[in-house]
Symmetry: C2
Subunit: 416 residues, 2 copies
């Protein structure tokens, strides 16, 4: 289907969704899950064909793994839709209230954005996840996944639309762009009168391309260059555990730590133990000159290291004079995703939490918790590193906005 036509249908559908009750939206989510389960064989057949095609290319094993579905994964995707049905509905929530001297009553009401486009890579699970979050928050969705999984996604999108129809909602609520040509995306990104928000989900190249080409407002994730600062007033065992977890538990994700900042007074007591634990896990360290005096065996960190998101078992380490220097380093090099302090000093923690400028700031915990599920949002559409609209993990609320609702008794305004 033509992209403009799809966006028009989504716009129409969004007007219906905006006024749909919570219970009906939940029923639709449950029907969508049912349809997915019913089409398991069709989905696996399409996925098998696409996997066979991709295995003949030079794609990495990780890429193939991410696009692979099986019975268990489809069941998990269906269950995720059912769990979104259980989340509280943000739409209609009243968040503020004021009575003005002239008697006007002013409230703020949470409402859907309208039409949300999601552009993602070859991960078929995103098709259902993104559609589910949009429906629950009263938005229509336009989905555009990676070209390697276009057949699999098409079957999934059909299943979702069937579920919507069964619940009596317009199937145009979920549009799926099955044209693998990049031109279709470019066309989509110009439809700012029909689409309210575009969310790129994928690597920095995808995000950059979307930012450059889009006339529609973008909600995006830049990169995750996360720091952990080890203060000198600290329980060493906790500092070792948290710093180890932040780097080594899953280094390939955006909320993993890339740079460790250590107060100079604790460096001699902390770094040798820390280095031993990292060495056992295969973590390569790159240090500032002061660090290399304590750990002479490690590589020197270059200026570039402080700005590198390794996404690998590599960590840059810097010794700082105090928290001021740590905060200045974070201000200069952080990406605004997550920053942590490990300290037993409450007032230092309070200062760090206030001043470190990121979507999520931590006291005595691992940056790895930066995730919608871990934060109790019930789901995650992505993690925003921008400041406007939504910061940090984005779930249902980030897909809504607030309007002013004013009730009067015939009040009119006088010139002032």
């Amino acid at each position: 289907m033509n992209v403009v036509k799809m966006a028009r249908e989504a716009r129409e559908a969004s007007r219906v969704l905006a006024k749909t009750s919570t219970s009906l939206k939940n029923r639709a989510l449950i029907e969508m899950a049912k349809s997915l389960r019913k089409r398991e064989r069709l989905i696996l057949k399409a996925n098998g064909r696409e996997l066979a095609a991709v295995r003949r290319t030079a794609r990495s094993a990780a890429f193939v793994e991410r696009m692979t579905l099986n019975g268990e994964r489809i069941e998990n995707i269906a269950r995720a839709l059912e769990s979104v049905a259980k989340l509280p509905d943000p739409v209609g929530k009243i968040t503020d209230f004021a009575r003005r001297p002239n008697g006007l009553i002013i409230k703020r009401m949470r409402v859907p954005l309208g039409v949300v486009a999601i552009i993602y890579e070859s991960r078929p699970g995103v098709t259902a996840d993104a559609a589910g979050l949009c429906i629950k928050s009263g938005n229509a969705a336009i989905l555009r996944g990676g070209k390697e999984t276009v057949l699999t996604n098409a079957v999934i999108a059909d299943a979702l639309r069937e579920g919507l129809k069964k619940a009596g909602l317009p199937p145009g609520s979920v549009g799926f762009v099955n044209d693998p040509d990049r031109k279709a995306v470019r066309e989509l990104l110009r439809l700012d009168s029909l689409i309210d928000l575009v969310i790129p989900r994928g690597g920095p190249e995808l995000t950059m391309a979307v930012r450059r080409e889009s006339l529609i407002p973008v909600l995006a994730h830049d990169k995750g260059l996360c720091h952990t600062y080890i203060d000198d007033r600290v329980e060493l065992g906790m500092a070792l555990d948290v710093a180890f977890n932040a780097k080594a538990e899953r280094p390939g994700v955006c909320n993993a730590m890339e740079t460790l900042l250590v107060h100079e007074k604790i460096a001699r007591a902390f770094l040798p133990n820390m280095a031993a634990r990292y060495a056992a896990a295969g973590v390569e360290l790159r240090g500032c000159p002061k660090t290399r005096k304590i750990l002479p065996g490690i590589k020197a960190a270059t200026a570039k290291d402080w700005d590198t998101e390794y996404l690998a078992l590599i960590l840059s380490v810097k010794i700082v004079k105090n928290m001021d220097e740590a905060l200045a380093h974070i201000a200069a090099h952080g990406s605004g995703l997550a920053e942590a302090i490990i300290t037993s000093d409450k007032s230092r923690a309070a200062r760090f939490l206030k001043e470190a400028d990121a979507g999520a700031v931590y006291h005595n915990a691992s940056t790895r918790f930066t995730d919608g599920g871990e934060f109790g949002l019930g789901a995650e559409m992505g993690i925003s590193t921008q400041k406007l609209h939504a910061r940090g993990p984005v779930a249902l609320e980030g897909l809504t906005c607030e309007k002013f609702v004013v009730s009067g008794k015939g009040q009119t305004r006088c010139s002032t």
Copy 2:
């Protein structure tokens, strides 16, 4: 000063402002007001020179009026700064709280955006207003006003910086671009690594130019195409008063009504009286065919009329079959600024308030109230017609964002 250097200074200053206490920010605002009063003669001298220059051009009387200062206006500008000092500080406000099963405590804290650029026309009052709102919300400001008032603005900006200095805050917190060349604006709009938000304040051309050229996120106002829908279940006197006020009280502003929608069952009882009141005030009516059957003397509305923001004593009038048709008309032609229903039926009002898609929706009141002051926000940076980040009147809160603040006891994350 070079624009890049100014933006770097503002970025540095923003780190200081973000951690400045409410009382110190308030003291700075009061010092800024004092400095303004002290420089009254200098300001009036610069303004006088610029007024003399503009009077030799073809600029309209309204343009000249808007750029004119006098003692009283300077006093009002100073008082506005003092009143911003009295507003509650949004920074540091905690808005949400959750304790997770693993013991992590998750809050959301309101924080400043960082550096905000404001691009406005030749209205010197904006210089102090915009700077005051930025300082109170913990942001640095970069100001760029119209070229006709660059001398006046420069004196005002100097006064503001003097006030900041007296309070011990960095004068770089308020940067003023005194280069009248458009190139300076273009350069500013590319500094997305130093500036967090740009707010154009002026007509649609200015907004469009900023949207097109900016790499920085934009918070803007498109236009105000406001409707008032007169339901058939209505107190006629109230309907007449509110519809008259919405159109005629001050037709040149964005929150004035441009199209009146009337339920067909009430049209015969309502329109002749309404037309008489409008006629007495010199309002020109343009009607749909049904309207012209009741008011045969008026002009026919063309397709273009339904999309025109007149900003003048002109009103398009359409008779609709029911609220569905009214809502569909608003969805097709509204600009998302303000929409109103006049009805005595509470359930219809509730439906309209939910479904009409605008920054402000009204039941039994004039759209003219769409204003930060009238809403009790204490001030106004502008009225946003976009959905992302802030909608409707924007004051201090719209200049902030929320971050997640997580407190733990050494929690680490396990792979799932």
